[in-house]
């Protein structure tokens, strides 16, 4: 099986052809937005980080920005720095350039302020778009596809309809040689024994148990219940009673394959097949980690209804129940609620999701893209200083 994608110089394949305008620090965000407004094909990736961060936290921010730039959905990158920040814009630009794509950078303090940087950046971005527009879609194998799976605004149907159906789609993609990243460590708490059993080896098994332990103890060391944040009030109104119940439903999205490796937040997989990434339950932070890890498409199930998208990856929304689908049709691409009503089987909806993933990979726009949803949030692991 194959799809139509953009072959990049490093051999990876994009499903979109964006020019990313990436600020290394919050102070450069508005300049990026101003440039992106002027040049077709560009997308600004504003964020509130990049300075006054402790080394481990700054490193995670840098890894995320580098990963977003390296994502094959991005044809070329313009990095805008301020000039005095912790996260080094030249390091970000040079690491992204390892993927052999066109990368340029500008420093606001060197160029001489907002207006001059916007002017110079606009000129550069225009030249980049001209270069990037030469990429054409070609037929490529599915083994170049990385699908990130996510759930947000879950309800008690999530684990009975949309998540197991997405699990079927995950298994189908992996059978074709592709890769699936399962994430949201918080929502593995209480289900980690099932994931650990599917680890490819002892080392991966230990890592699965370790990331879950690390997440759980992070909250407990603060003397707080994770239950204050997760399950969220809407999850509970949707019928989810405990974190364990949410987790057991959540992990079904990954399907039934062996788990090949465990990734840090925003780390790119070295293996194909099913891999696990350590991200929080926060949807936008988790999706950001997945795309920074190289996922070209996100399949996102929801029971309560969420519009969250991504600046560089199509996000396919799958409703767990038909009430939601009829209420938020503008946001939902596929309804898995037909499993609950008994009109379709898990297998049937899973195959439908898989077909939709292939169509979207070949260029079909998702509702989140059409509506312009570009939520982007880097997971912070330390306070500002």
């Amino acid at each position: 099986m194959n799809f139509l994608g953009y072959k990049r110089p490093d051999g990876k394949v994009g499903v979109r052809n964006h020019i990313a305008i990436i600020p290394s620090v919050v102070c450069a965000s508005e300049v990026c937005i101003a440039i992106a407004r002027k040049v077709k094909g560009t997308v600004a990736i504003p964020h509130p980080h990049g300075c006054a961060q402790l080394p481990f936290d700054a490193e995670q921010t840098a890894r995320t920005l580098i990963g977003v730039g390296k994502n094959p959905n991005v044809a070329a990158v313009l990095v805008i720095g301020l000039g005095c920040e912790v996260v080094d814009p030249f390091l970000i630009a040079s690491k992204i350039a390892e993927s052999d794509k066109l990368v340029k950078s500008l420093i606001i303090q060197e160029v001489g302020g907002t207006l001059k940087t916007v002017k110079e950046g606009t000129r550069m971005a225009r030249a980049m778009w001209s270069e990037a527009s030469r990429f054409k879609r070609e037929r490529v194998d599915l083994d170049s596809l990385i699908l990130g799976v996510e759930c947000g605004g879950s309800d008690a149907c999530s684990g009975l309809s949309a998540n197991p159906a997405l699990g079927v789609a995950s298994d189908l993609l992996i059978k074709e040689g592709g890769t699936v990243i399962l994430s949201e460590t918080t929502e593995s708490i209480g289900a980690e024994h099932i994931l650990a059993k599917r680890a490819i080896n002892k080392k991966v098994k230990e890592r699965i148990l370790e990331i879950v332990r690390r997440t759980e103890s992070r909250a407990l060391n603060l003397g707080l219940d994770i239950g204050k944040a997760n399950p969220a009030p809407g999850n509970i109104r949707g019928g989810i009673t405990t974190l364990e119940e949410k987790s057991l439903g959540c992990i079904l999205k990954g399907g039934s394959s062996r788990i090949m490796e465990v990734l840090e937040y925003a780390e790119a997989p070295a293996q194909k097949g099913l891999v696990l990434m350590d991200t929080p339950g926060h949807d936008a932070e988790s999706v950001t980690g997945l795309i920074a890890g190289g996922a070209q498409i996100i399949a996102f199930t929801t029971g309560r209804g969420t519009p969250v998208g991504s600046p560089i990856a199509p996000v396919i929304k799958i409703s767990t129940n038909s009430h939601l689908y009829s209420k938020m049709k503008d946001n939902i691409d596929i309804d898995a609620g037909e499993i609950i009503t008994g009109d379709k089987t898990v297998q049937e909806v899973g195959e439908k999701i898989f077909r939709e993933v292939l169509r979207v990979a070949s260029g079909r726009l998702t509702k989140s893209e059409i509506l312009g949803h570009r939520e982007f949030a880097i997971n912070r692991i330390g306070p500002s200083f």
Binding site: I189, E216, T241, E244, E245, V346
Partner: protein, 101 residues
């Protein structure tokens, strides 16, 4: 995982579960037909997507969904009752002081 259609009003996700999920709102006194010819009477309104108890769960006993433990009953829960945060507590991600009892 393939849900077991015990009754058209509920979904049972695993044969060992002691709760099932309502496929639509279920009214009190509704009779639910379970595998092996068992039937139970619903005792209170079960909203869409919420759980109904299928077998008596003693105080402190495990609540089972997906064939796995999802929490502990904080009082005896009888068949036909709504199973939710008023009678079940999760056991993970809890600070020590609240993990007792």
């Amino acid at each position: 995982m393939k849900p077991i259609d015990a009754d058209r009003k509920i979904i049972l996700s695993h044969p060992t579960d002691n709760v099932a999920t309502a496929k639509s709102e279920i009214q009190p006194e509704t009779i639910l037909f379970l595998p092996k010819g068992r039937k139970i009477e619903v005792r209170e309104e079960i909203p869409f997507g919420h759980k109904v108890c299928l077998r008596t769960i003693p105080k402190g006993g495990p609540v089972i969904k997906y064939g796995e433990r999802i929490g502990r009953a904080i009082r005896t829960i009888r068949p036909g009752e709504l199973v939710h945060i008023h009678n079940v507590v999760g056991e993970r991600g809890k600070s020590q002081s609240k993990n007792k009892g």
